[in-house]
């Protein structure tokens, strides 16, 4: 790892080499390891260390960017020259005002960091995976999945006196257990690898695969559903780029255009982004060095706000909320610590309230069919069950759904108290949800 002192030294060197009116230097990267297993053995096991030094320079409203992963003196000099050359050949961007202005807010540079995770080695990952494999073998099942560990550093310095550094760790253990005609899924992610329970992961995935044996088919149509946090996060994750950001608002592709202050969703729907919450995998500032601010998207169903980066905020005379992705990016700004508030129910209570419906362990391959209406299609996967008279009665073959997120959040009648961090590039913290009239439009053969 590079460490704070060296990282800031590199970035300050960039600033000193630039003749531009404004300069921003970002160093991000670190180590990552993935132990992948399938057919009850580790079949792919990899590690890497890499960094990206990204430089942006501005001459007036002309902005150029260049990046490199070679951190030698010569390479740093070249990347600064590249960025300046690009900016000089650039057209003016009328939306550009400035790189991030400093905000003198204390941050915890290690809020999302754990030494335990940083020191978790290949043999420890293999031992954890072996426990899952052994348990699956005992039940004559086939264990597949991954144990991933990331140790990242992010440092930002710009010529306006922004200077930030933080390090972060994420550990994720995933198990997909396959039976002859069933499968089960579980995944846990945490800052500290010790917060991951191998037993919980193997019990959930094996349990679902066992319950799912010999599924039968039901016809597509509207069903009341209980979505696990895995399924709910996969479904509503599309809001992040379709709706809940200032770019989508400006482009007119968000359904929130002209609707702030209006009640668009049910009373029970409160959704926000909070990079400093202990309910997420924290991140104290964004890729422009702006400290994270809590942004409420919906409060009791009322539309409140979206996330901003400097490009979208300064143009409107607003403050960035600290949601810039690595720049330049067509997906920035983006909610990187999405949290959906839960309710008071237990999962068992929620199931008991369903007369006839489906329990969905996981959705898969979801994509928007109609972005403005947030209509998403996708498949169920790794556990689909029929609920009758308040009880899970039998496993089902997978089905395709086509449903609007807005409609579904309006039809959400119950949320669990339990929430779970679902980590897939960024963390989303969501509960179980009971949703009425969820539309299934097709079925498959397994």
């Amino acid at each position: 790892m590079i460490g704070k002192e060296k990282a800031l030294e590199i970035l300050k060197k960039v600033i000193s080499m630039s003749n531009a009116e404004q300069t921003e230097a970002v160093l991000s990267g670190g180590k990552s390891f993935v132990t992948a297993y399938a057919n009850n053995y580790i079949h792919r096991n990899s590690g890497t260390e890499d960094y990206t030094l990204s430089v942006r320079v501005a001459f007036g409203k002309k902005v150029g960017a260049a990046s490199v992963n070679d951190l030698s003196e010569e390479s740093i000099e070249k990347v600064v020259k590249d960025a300046m050359l690009i900016a000089e050949n650039q057209r003016e961007n009328p939306d550009f005002v400035s790189f991030a202005k400093p905000e003198y807010v204390e941050i915890n540079e290690e809020a999302g960091f754990s030494e335990d995770t940083a020191n978790f080695g290949a043999m420890q990952r293999a031992e954890a995976v072996k426990k899952i494999i052994d348990a699956a073998k005992e039940k004559k099942l086939n264990a597949t999945g991954t144990f991933e560990v990331e140790i990242n550093e992010l440092a930002v310095v710009n010529s306006l006196n922004v200077e930030r550094y933080a390090k972060r760790t994420v550990a994720s253990l995933k198990s997909v257990v396959l039976g002859e005609n069933s499968s089960g899924y579980s995944k846990e992610s945490a800052v500290n690898v010790k917060d991951i329970s191998v037993e919980r992961v193997l019990n959930e995935s094996i349990g679902v695969a066992e319950k799912g044996k010999n599924p039968s088919a039901v016809e597509p149509g509207k069903y009341e559903v209980i979505l696990t946090p895995y399924a709910l996060a996969e479904f509503i994750s599309h809001l992040g780029y379709l709706t809940l950001n200032a770019r989508a608002l400006k482009e007119g592709s968000s359904f929130l255009v002209g609707k702030f202050g209006q009640k668009l969703l049910g009373d029970n729907i409160t959704m926000l982004d909070d990079g400093l919450s202990d309910e997420t995998i924290p991140m104290p500032f964004d890729f422009e060095g702006v400290p994270k601010k809590k942004v409420i998207f919906f409060e009791n169903g009322v539309a409140k706000g979206v996330v901003y980066d400097t490009l979208t905020a300064y143009k409107e005379g607003k403050e960035s909320t600290g949601h810039a992705l690595p720049q330049p990016s067509p997906f920035s700004p983006y909610p990187m610590n999405f949290i959906m508030e839960g309710g008071q129910s237990s999962v068992e209570e929620m199931i008991s309230h369903v007369e006839k419906g489906l329990f969905v362990q996981r959705f898969w391959y979801t994509n928007p069919m109609d972005p403005r209406k947030a209509v998403i299609t996708g498949m169920t996967r790794d556990g689909l069950f029929l609920i009758e008279n308040g009880k899970i009665t039998k496993p089902l073959q997978n089905m395709r759904f086509t449903e609007s997120i807005i409609t579904a959040l309006n039809n959400t009648v119950e949320l669990s108290e339990t929430k779970k961090i679902i980590y897939d590039m960024v963390p989303m913290t969501v509960p179980y949800a009971r949703i009425k009239d969820f539309t299934f439009t097709g079925k498959t053969e397994f």
């Binding site: 992948a36 990899s46 890497t48 902005v63 990046s67 330049p328 069919m369 439009t441 498959t444």
Partner: protein, 479 residues
């Protein structure tokens, strides 16, 4: 580079590896994107590093680093062996590789116009002139993008391979998003999600004739707002170029990947219905359907000289006269099924282990013209340009949406229709194919963003297709 290779090979062998390969990669990229009359992003990036893949104790290990020095190569190779030894804790059988011919070769890539020598201003001008032409009432977002990359890759193995190859890629596209306040519609050219990509130089951009097409793209986006909704029901469809390319990609390319078939991708990308007992006897499509995997096509995005195991590029049939006859494979998976390695192992970059990827997976041309395909439809839809896609993890149930469609009645094109969608089961769909356009309509579409693997890798692949007709397909799922 030789010193890094030598250091890695020696270190891994010393630590106990029975097989070692080293990949060193240097890549330069340029990304330009414009939006609503201004340059949204303009960036150049460079990356270099190396990866060492080993078999030790009969199991795989891989490590990689951005520090390109012999000392680091020694450390990384030893770490790869340590990782392999951890893998071996769960080993069932020793990893075994099919034999291949070993090559020493150097393969530069020729292009007509080096994209990195074309001034940035010229590139921006083309995109902004196109943007200007798309500026018509109703259009709210006008986008354009160009992408260029150049890489030099060295592959060496403990079996004696030493292969260097160059790869130059260009890509470009434009799109217009229109709204009437109630809905949005999009049209893209020449394809959606960034346009078309090929292993070509800047000539790709010049040949695309953006200025001649920009106004049409904008007009079609606006016209879609008042077009009638695509009808629902079972009917015939004709898929044009880029949409058919994605259909091949999702429903033939992925299910033919032998790692998926053998369960190695089950926890993420999924498995496949094309299980080994079907090889050589399963009717995947009608007699007309011939699908090849061909990495030798000049300029195809999925092409190359050698894959990342040092296997020389090949052309093989995956489907011949409708029968499923071949897999995309690796040395390891080929050995398991007693097949010949066909060269489909590729890694996104130096920091990833190679996995089985599509090369250029192509629907071979038929003998019809597009007009002949249309004239054979009593009632159906001609669909073009992908808008959405989804398919189950066994690659059976799919659902696609396209940007635009035209109703066909009594063999003639009628009204434009919006939000066309169709759904089906893979083999039923391909069995319903009763006409494919001829080689004059054939184009190899680049797909630069195929995601697979853990850690996730994005790969450049391609699909040669000509428009094709499918009978009695379920059309329309959106109300």
């Amino acid at each position: 580079m030789r010193d890094i290779v030598e250091s890695a090979l020696l270190s891994a062998k010393r630590a106990g590896a029975s097989y070692v390969d080293v990949r060193i990669l240097e890549r330069e990229e340029e990304d330009i994107s414009t939006k609503n009359g201004s340059v949204d992003a303009l960036k150049r990036s460079r990356t270099k590093g190396f990866g060492v893949r080993v078999i030790a104790n009969g199991a795989w290990g891989f490590s990689s680093s951005f520090r390109l020095t012999p000392d680091e190569a020694e450390r990384v190779a030893a770490e790869a062996v340590e990782i392999a030894k951890a893998s071996s804790k769960t080993k069932i059988d020793d990893v075994s590789l099919a034999d291949i011919e070993i090559y020493q070769d150097r393969v530069p890539q020729k292009v007509l116009i080096n994209p990195f020598e074309v001034p940035v201003k010229k590139k921006i001008n083309i995109l902004l002139e196109s943007d200007k032409l798309m500026r018509i009432p109703g259009v709210i977002v006008r986008k354009g993008s160009m992408f260029f990359s150049r890489e030099w890759k060295t592959f060496a193995s403990s079996e004696g391979a030493y292969i260097e190859q160059e790869r130059i890629v260009s890509g470009a596209g434009i799109s217009a998003v229109a709204t009437n306040g109630k809905e949005i519609q999009i049209r893209s050219y020449p394809s959606s999600f960034g346009g078309d990509y090929q292993r070509k130089g800047f000539e790709l951009v010049e040949d695309a004739k953006f200025l001649e097409n920009a106004e049409r793209v904008a007009n079609e986006a606006v016209a879609l707002l008042s077009a009638k909704p695509c009808p629902s029901g079972r009917m015939d469809i004709i898929l044009k170029g880029s949409q058919l390319a994605l259909q091949v990609h999702e429903s033939m390319g992925h299910p033919a990947e032998l790692d998926r078939v053998l369960g190695e991708e089950a926890s993420f990308a999924g498995t496949s219905f094309l299980t080994p007992e079907k090889l050589g006897n399963f009717r995947y499509g009608s007699d007309l359907v011939n699908i090849t995997a061909d990495a030798t096509i000049p300029e195809a995005l999925g092409g190359f000289a050698y894959d990342d195991e040092g296997v020389k590029a090949k052309r093989i049939y995956l489907v011949k006269n409708g029968i499923f006859v071949g897999y995309l494979n690796s040395r390891e998976t080929a050995k398991k099924l007693k097949l010949q390695p066909m060269g489909a192992m590729r890694a996104q970059s130096w920091s990833f282990m190679p996995i089985i990827r599509m090369t250029s997976v192509n629907l071979e041309p038929g003998d019809k013209t597009l007009d002949e395909l249309i004239s054979g439809v009593e009632h159906g839809i001609l669909m073009d340009t992908n808008k959405s896609w989804s398919i189950d993890q066994n690659r059976l149930n799919f659902q696609f949406g396209t940007e635009i469609g035209w109703e066909i009645k009594n063999g003639k094109i009628q009204d434009m229709v919006k939000n066309p969608t169709y759904t089906g089961i893979t083999y039923e769909f391909w069995r319903s194919c009763d006409g494919i356009a001829n080689k004059d309509f054939w184009h190899v579409w680049g797909v630069p963003n195929c995601g697979k693997g853990e850690p996730m890798q994005v790969m450049q692949v391609s699909h040669g297709v000509a428009p094709a007709r499918f009978r009695n397909v379920q059309v329309g799922v959106l109300k």
